[in-house]
């Protein structure tokens, strides 16, 4: 056990963890909007809109995140037309490519979580809203969405943790996140176990914090 290496690599890994957290929070924020959008499409009665949303979530949930990152980072740059548009400013950056891939991926899972949350809302609650003369729009924003958010908190907490682990794939497109830096230290020192303990410890700590925040929110917004 090389304690000195562990102590020396800790600050490096800690500053890399900040990048991991940045990747995570930005992609979760974008992914939440994507997820909400597609969840609403899934509830639509129009079969084409419905199928479209289902297809989106099926494709992104059925393929590895690594493939998605590679298609966006290596694949899209190949399209000549894209290179001449404003989009290229974003797509040439590995950082944004990773975030786009993460956001689309977590969006697919989030849409499923929110859809099932919407579907478990008892019809009586919506009827109660209607009988009070509240408009459909207000029922949706003031009644359905808050209840759905509460319902989906446990599943969404899992999704946040899965996504945090997913951000480690950013290291495959040259981003020096926690896993990227850990791999770099391992390959220069050949001390995989020491680095794994420190980097893994930081990941576990972040998981622990996220888990407790979700637990706190669940308690705060519980019905009873």
């Amino acid at each position: 056990m090389d304690l000195e290496l562990m102590i020396n690599s800790f600050p490096k890994l800690l500053s890399a963890a900040v990048i991991t957290l940045k990747l995570l929070s930005v992609s979760l924020l974008i992914g939440l909007f994507i997820g909400l959008f597609f969840a609403i499409l899934r509830l639509n009665k129009n079969i084409f809109i419905n199928r479209f949303a289902y297809g989106y979530s099926y494709i992104f949930r059925g393929t590895p995140l690594l493939v998605q990152i590679f298609i966006i980072y290596f694949g899209l740059g190949q399209i000549e037309y894209l290179r001449s548009t404003v989009l290229w400013v974003i797509l040439k950056e590995p950082y944004w490519c990773a975030i786009i891939a993460f956001a689309l991926n977590t969006g697919a899972y989030t849409s499923e979580i929110l859809r099932s949350a919407f579907q478990t809302i008892k019809p009586g609650i919506i009827e109660a809203g209607k009988s009070l003369g509240i408009s459909n729009k207000v029922i949706f924003y003031k009644i359905q969405i808050p209840i759905a958010i509460r319902q989906s908190l446990p599943a969404y907490g899992n999704e946040i943790i899965l996504m945090m682990k997913g951000t480690s794939l950013a290291s495959t497109v040259t981003i020096m996140d926690l896993t990227g830096v850990a791999k770099y230290i391992i390959s220069t020192t050949f001390k995989p176990i020491e680095v794994f303990i420190v980097a893994g410890g930081i990941y576990l700590f972040m998981t622990f914090i996220i888990h407790n925040i979700i637990k706190f929110l669940e308690k705060k917004y519980s019905f009873n």
Binding site: G62, T63, Q68, F70, I71, I161, T167, S171, P192, F196
Partner: protein, 230 residues
């Protein structure tokens, strides 16, 4: 389309073998995962606090740390560990472990943590009366487990195990970083030599979709089989 031709002119046969490799690694990893679950599920259900702690540490650490980091640990640390163990037994030559075993083992440990949780949940949700009834019938420990508990556990576990299978299948794409030629690695090679990453990575995505789709159909059949009588 000529990019996918079989033989020397295209990448069809290479990708076909790569797909078989992905299937082989996934199945091996899943089996290794079951073996881990077989050890850790009883520890999780045990009344002994220390055994509980070991099993909980295993599932918590594996499920809280990125798969890629675990793979790097095995990729860089696996050879060293094997050489160390061999040196204890007096063998001092360099040993190279192949990428298949390292990869399947790394993914297997990850899949095992998820399987353990699934089996634990399934066994815990079996009605207490079933255990008591088995006792009343005078079955011995083995008969009780294999004839009464296991079939019911499987019925409850299969839907969740199908999720574990999906996770395992997708996780195998990460082994490509160790150089094992599965779908992802082969697409990477093909994309590099043809300068057509968009096509090959999209094709890889299609292959994975196909694998998940077909395996879901097969698992659904199993589900029907094990829920006879319900």
């Amino acid at each position: 389309m000529e990019l996918l031709a079989f033989g020397d002119t295209g990448w069809g046969d290479e990708l076909f073998y790569a797909t078989l490799m992905t299937i082989a690694v996934s199945i091996t990893a899943m089996i290794i995962g079951f073996l881990f679950a077989l050890v850790f599920t009883p520890l999780k259900l045990s009344k002994n606090k220390f055994l509980n702690f070991i099993a909980n540490s295993y599932t918590t650490i594996i499920r809280g740390v990125p798969e890629l980091l675990v793979i790097y640990l095995f990729f860089f640390g696996g050879t060293g560990a094997v050489i160390f163990v061999a040196s204890i037994f007096g063998y001092n030559e360099y040993i190279e472990i192949n990428a298949f075993i390292t990869g399947a083992f790394a993914i297997g440990i990850i899949s095992g943590a998820y399987s353990t949780e699934v089996f634990r949940g399934a066994i815990q949700s079996i009605d207490k009366g079933q255990f008591e009834a088995a006792n009343v019938l005078g079955l011995n420990k083995f008969g009780k487990f294999f004839k009464i508990i296991l079939p019911q556990t499987l019925r409850l576990a299969i839907p969740n195990l199908s999720n574990v299978w999906q996770i395992t299948l997708k996780d195998t794409s990460l082994i490509s970083v160790t150089g094992l030629v599965e779908i992802m690695r082969q697409s990477y090679i093909a994309a590099g030599s043809t300068r057509d990453p968009l096509f090959f990575y999209s094709f890889a995505a299609v292959l994975y979709l196909l694998l998940t789709f077909v395996s879901m159909k097969l698992i659904n059949r199993l589900e029907v089989k094990y829920s006879r009588g319900y």
